[in-house]
Symmetry: C2
Subunit: 175 residues, 2 copies
């Protein structure tokens, strides 16, 4: 089962990024080629029947499986980046973090009006970043076809935050 | 020819990131699935006969084609990130930028001694980042099997800077 395979690969790193936090490190997954291919196939399988026009990946770990999945499904891949990195007609959203705030951008014209866009990142935590990414798509008259993550940290209740934007929330491994 | 196809997709954005700079925006390439697949195949073709043990991708645009190519070739994918983002035994290198300095990190144990590692990023500019990335691999007793880029800005002479680390420098489109 893919969840067991992913969890076996994940490395627990204590006290990162802060003392007392047990960080779930996904980088060993990337060293297991066969698992990477299985993850891409599983993503494709779970998305079957979801009408999609594009996949948007959130910088920077959402770029990893994002482009591979877009290529697998024959869909355009759109970048959601931190402020100041996208050159062409950037559209900006401000959002709250636990401490302070942050900003994300997409390029104007990336989302065609009416497009069904899937939002992808590696981890669903509090949902703040995924929610901001979705609002960037909505601001360009796109629709949210769903959210797709490799891993979900359920105790941070991000699912509750984003389900008002789409009910279609997929994650392959949960803690 | 792949170079013509890539150059047709690239969008020129004037005055980014600074006034007077004509930025070569690669994001339209990512919206053309067929081109993304062709790029991956071309990378694979150019690397034929290069004995490789792993591909290291530089954050964040080196993550895009990096993982796709690693999966295509059946190789482990290693992350080279900005300081403070990798949780496990990070190894740090400081390097000079045009103005000021920056830092990159890899995780300890990612490179096995003697491994032949390919360094990948989207653009070769001054070569400062690629050179620092290679030195992280060397510091773990890895070997540099080559450098692979989507695009090269020849007038910034990055090739001269990195050829002392490997003669095998591949880019699909040059300006």
């Amino acid at each position: 089962m893919i969840e067991t395979r992913i969890k076996s690969a994940i490395r627990d790193v204590p006290d990162f990024p802060l003392k007392g936090v047990l960080f779930k490190d996904l980088t060993p997954v990337l060293k297991d080629t066969k698992l990477c291919q299985e993850i891409t196939e599983e993503f494709a399988k779970r998305l079957r029947g979801t009408g999609l026009d594009a996949i948007a990946g959130i910088e920077s770990r959402g770029f990893l499986f994002g482009l591979m999945l877009a290529a697998r499904l024959g869909l355009p891949f759109l970048l959601i980046r931190k402020k100041g990195k996208l050159p062409y007609k950037p559209i900006t959203i401000n959002y709250q973090l636990e401490y302070g705030s942050s900003q994300l951008e997409m390029q104007g014209g990336d989302v065609h009006p009416g497009w069904k866009v899937l939002i992808h990142d590696d981890v669903l935590a509090t949902g703040g970043t995924a929610s901001a990414a979705a609002k960037l798509v909505l601001s360009q008259e796109g629709q949210i076809a769903g959210f797709l993550f490799l891993m979900e940290l359920k105790f941070l209740t991000g699912r509750e935050k984003i389900q008002e934007l789409s009910q279609n929330i997929i994650s392959l491994a949960s803690y």
